[in-house]
């Protein structure tokens, strides 16, 4: 079925068009992004259960962007109490107060050209299975309860087993003098998280998730996830500390995605180029990885949790080849950064929600597949680890350092898995060294979209990342 566009936004459209027209008398460029995204979140464990009509992407509100004399300003609001004329007047009045403060403090403007406003009308409702607002919540809670109960029976030494899921039906409308864009789509994500205690009274965790562009039916995948949990937990309970050093490693698609995201995802967000915060700007056209390293980024790259049609600045979604056989080709760019750099935007201007500023943000960041099998890759390792399970990652685009905290590593000796597991694993290194060491890539690939990505330590948005199994060298601790 199609994910229907919000009737609320359809009804709001004439008012927002009028608002654009009225503000156009004071500002040379005016846009409005209006959102109406509904959804739910549910969790069930042995110790607590919860249900809510909110999750990280549910929202309803509007943000106006205006340009005057080289300066961009925004006004976000979620209430319209009077006429559109009164609202326009209020927006102008409030922004003038800010301009007065900026004048008082002698603040200079980072002069930026006016955004283009090419005529475009677009209306797209993407396919979904179910809608979150029509989900059988009773059935979902019952299924999660049964899975949690089964987890307690099958997961060794389990203290608790939590099933969680969320889904959002996103509707967004972008209005300027010449553009009128509307889109709606649905995504869902779910996870199974278990904790257990070993003989030494140490608490260990195991986690697996599912996600995708679609409705609550995606959460059915948690049944398969749960079946993997007993083995995962057994491995975590018997895990040892890793001996620090440099090793041959094979990353599973989730860790490959984490590296893609941290290494050259954040590193080529071109609003960072504007601020001279990314080394990538100096390496365009240069080698940053091995011949086996090709990386794509864009909302069109995969039908994931972030597979939108247009971004939060009304720019159509793209598919950018960031790294082509080891050569850094380009970055990703929001509309204002593109103006400042004299390049085209790539459809990567995203907001945490309507009340937040746009930044250049990732969508799907994915390594291309190769030609090896996982078995061939393991057979080629003299001494190293197969790394699985993302815990967290952090980038340093200015210095190209990378930190990935990984749930577990499976020891490989003389081309075979030994059965020894180490956990957790801290992988650190210099990005070009890491990507330059990629020597094998598997034929298959996976894309994961659970959780959120911050810019620094804020501005959380949905992203997805993935790739094939990759063989490389890295420092582990």
């Amino acid at each position: 079925m199609k994910a229907p566009f919000s009737p609320y936004l359809d009804a709001l459209a004439p008012k927002m068009k009028k608002l654009v027209e009225l503000l156009g008398k004071s500002f040379a460029y005016v846009s409005v992004l209006s959102t109406d995204s509904v959804g739910f979140s549910v969790y069930v464990s042995q110790t607590d259960k919860g249900i809510s009509g909110q999750n990280m992407t549910t929202e309803r509100g509007n943000v106006v962007r205006v340009w005057r004399d080289g300066q961009y300003s925004e006004y976000a609001f979620n209430e319209i109490t009077g006429s559109v004329e009164a609202l326009a007047e209020e927006i102008v009045c409030q922004l003038e107060r800010q301009f007065a403060l900026l004048k008082l403090t002698g603040t200079k403007t980072y002069d930026t050209p006016i955004l283009p406003d090419e005529p475009l009308e677009l209306f797209e409702e993407k396919e979904t299975g179910e809608l979150p607002e029509q989900a059988d919540m009773k059935g979902l809670v019952e299924r999660f309860t049964a899975l949690s109960d089964r987890g307690m029976e099958t997961i060794p030494h389990a203290l608790d087993c939590t099933l969680s899921g969320s889904s959002t039906h996103i509707s967004k409308m972008f209005v300027t003098k010449n553009r009128f864009l509307r889109q709606s789509y649905v995504y869902a994500e779910g996870s199974c998280w278990a904790i257990a205690s070993n003989d030494e009274d140490e608490t260990k965790e195991a986690y697996q998730g599912v996600s995708g562009c679609g409705g609550p039916e995606i959460l059915d995948g948690l049944q398969d996830v749960l079946e993997k949990m007993p083995k995962l937990m057994q491995e975590m309970l018997s895990s040892e500390e890793i001996e620090p050093g440099e090793y041959e490693i094979i990353t599973d698609p989730e860790i490959s995605g984490l590296i893609a995201h941290e290494a050259f995802g954040h590193g080529v967000e071109m609003d960072m180029f504007v601020k001279h915060r990314a080394l990538g700007a100096d390496y365009l056209g240069k080698r940053v990885g091995s011949e086996l390293c090709t990386m794509h980024e864009g909302a069109l790259c995969d039908n994931s949790v972030t597979a939108y049609v247009f971004d939060d600045e009304g720019v159509l979604a793209g598919d950018v080849t960031e790294i082509d056989r080891g050569i850094l080709k380009t970055g990703i760019c929001d509309a204002l950064a593109a103006l400042r750099l004299g390049v085209q935007p790539t459809g990567n201007g995203k907001r945490e929600n309507f009340a937040h500023k746009v930044y250049t943000r990732m969508t799907n960041t994915i390594f291309d597949s190769g030609e090896s099998t996982l078995e061939e890759m393991i057979a080629s390792v003299k001494f190293g680890y197969l790394l699985e399970g993302e815990q967290s990652g952090m980038e340093d685009p200015k210095h190209w350092g990378i930190q990935c905290i990984i749930c577990r590593g499976y020891e490989i000796k003389d081309g075979a898995l030994t059965g020894k597991v180490v956990a957790p694993v801290v992988m650190t290194g210099y990005v070009p060294d890491l990507l330059g060491s990629i020597s094998m890539a598997s034929v298959d690939r996976g894309v994961m979209g659970n959780g959120g990505c911050g810019k620094g330590y804020k501005e959380w948005v949905k992203v997805a990342a993935g790739g094939p199994y990759l063989k490389m060298k890295a420092r582990l601790g």
């Binding site: 809510s52 009509g53 925004e74 976000a76 403090t105 620090p244 930190q403 330590y457 582990l476």
Partner: protein, 425 residues
């Protein structure tokens, strides 16, 4: 509108509920160097609601949602009906909502424009050089008003300022340039402190340019002298004493239990406090309508009392608990100077220092450290620190001097003995 929503809740037959009206006015300014990238205003109002439903077998259902100020009457009725139905699906052991009357503190008169001006002015006064300078910064100043009501008649309104400034600084030496990232949160702007903190980051930036690879130190003492230490106090000690963590088996702490065995170092004393000057969360009544009182959570290394949400606190038999926002860790036995004697690695910049609250794993990549060894100091980068809190607590020491980081007052320096150091050589 709050009254209208309350009437609609009662019309459903719902007799147990919590309702809030949250209003946020924010002024934001984004700078590239010292030029304005963008200015923003947000004016938001929302109505979070939780409906409860007594269920068979002494259970209680609960579900939550949010009413938008633009919701029509029909939309409000449908949302509330959906929430009330969903409350019947979620079956938890029963507990009672707060019922002790609370007095609203006097509403503060706030001026986001004046606070924003202080931030802009302070940043203009930071001492920069040609080689150490501010790259960019983002100023967020909020006035938050929360009006709370529940079905037991508890009602209050609080208003408080909540500010944040994110600062990125650069340091350059020839062609080599690095950056350091800082996020400072507070109630309003303390301009002098902000300047000091940014200038300290600039000094670290200068040092970052002359580093050598961290040697493989194997087991070595690590000294934390920045807000990275918060990870230990906030995400381990405070969270382990949280009733939700305990009920959900992510913590096995209970009153009377020592936080570690065989403690030979400083024994931690941690308090939840009702108010903390210039905290970004400085209000005396929590989001569930409970008065936040001063409470010693850990005294001399032994858990004394717990804190947390009403639901889980009641499950554990903890009365008078609250969702505290502000915490104070008492200083240790030695001065900072005494703790700095001997060999240690002082890490002042991690990529992302983390302490896992469940397993207690410690991990972080070193971006900038000072290796104090054999009477010399080497500036190092690369490699990582890892360890476990269970191993670190018995010999952990911290300074008598303390420092405030927004909602936490913690010892100025914290010394963790014999953590694992993976070198970068």
């Amino acid at each position: 509108m709050l009254k209208h929503i309350e009437e609609q809740i009662k019309a459903l037959g719902c007799t147990i509920w919590e309702l809030r009206e949250e209003t946020t006015k924010a002024w934001e300014f984004y700078f590239i160097r010292h030029e304005l990238d963008q200015n923003r205003i947000t004016e938001l109002r929302s109505f979070p609601v939780t409906l409860y439903r007594p269920l068979e077998g002494g259970l209680l259902g609960a579900a939550s949602g949010e009413i938008a100020p633009t919701d029509s009457d029909e939309a409000i009725r449908k949302k509330l009906a959906d929430i009330y139905y969903q409350a019947s699906l979620v079956k938890n052991p029963a507990y009672k909502l707060n019922d002790k009357p609370v007095a609203s503190p006097p509403l503060k008169e706030l001026d986001v424009a004046a606070i924003a001006k202080d931030f802009i002015t302070a940043m203009a006064q930071v001492h920069e050089t040609e080689t150490e300078f501010v790259n960019s910064y983002e100023i967020f100043v909020k006035e938050i008003t929360r009006h709370f009501r529940n079905s037991n008649g508890v009602e209050y309104t609080v208003r408080y300022p909540s500010s944040m400034i994110e600062v990125v600084v650069n340091a350059r030496r020839g062609e080599h340039e690095i950056e350091l990232y800082r996020m400072f949160e507070s109630g309003t702007c303390d301009g002098d402190k902000l300047c000091r903190d940014v200038e300290k980051a600039l000094r670290y930036g200068k040092d970052r340019l002359v580093t050598e690879p961290t040697p493989a130190l194997n087991r070595f003492d690590v000294l934390l002298s920045t807000d990275d230490a918060l990870q230990i106090y906030r995400w381990y000690f405070a969270i382990k004493a949280n009733t939700e963590m305990i009920h959900c088996k992510m913590s096995d702490w209970k009153p009377g239990k020592a936080v570690a065995e065989n403690m030979t170092g400083d024994r931690i004393t941690l308090k939840a406090v009702s108010t903390l000057q210039n905290s970004s969360q400085d209000y005396p009544i929590d989001k569930e309508g409970a008065e936040i009182r001063d409470r010693t959570l850990i005294r001399n290394g032994v858990v004394e009392s717990l804190w947390g949400p009403r639901q889980f606190s009641q499950y554990l038999g903890v009365e008078d608990s609250a969702l505290a926002e502000n915490f104070v860790v008492e200083g240790g036995a030695c001065s900072e100077a005494e703790l700095r004697k001997g060999d240690y690695l002082e890490v002042v910049e991690f990529s992302d220092f983390q302490v896992d609250p469940v397993g207690g794993d410690i991990a972080g990549e070193i971006r900038l450290g000072y290796l104090h060894q054999n009477g010399t100091v080497r500036i190092v980068t690369g490699g990582s620190v890892s360890g476990k809190m269970a191993d670190a607590i018995p010999t952990m020491r911290f300074s008598a001097e303390t420092e405030q980081y927004d909602t936490y007052v913690i010892p100025r320096v914290t010394l963790l003995e014999k953590l694992k150091i993976t070198g970068a050589e």
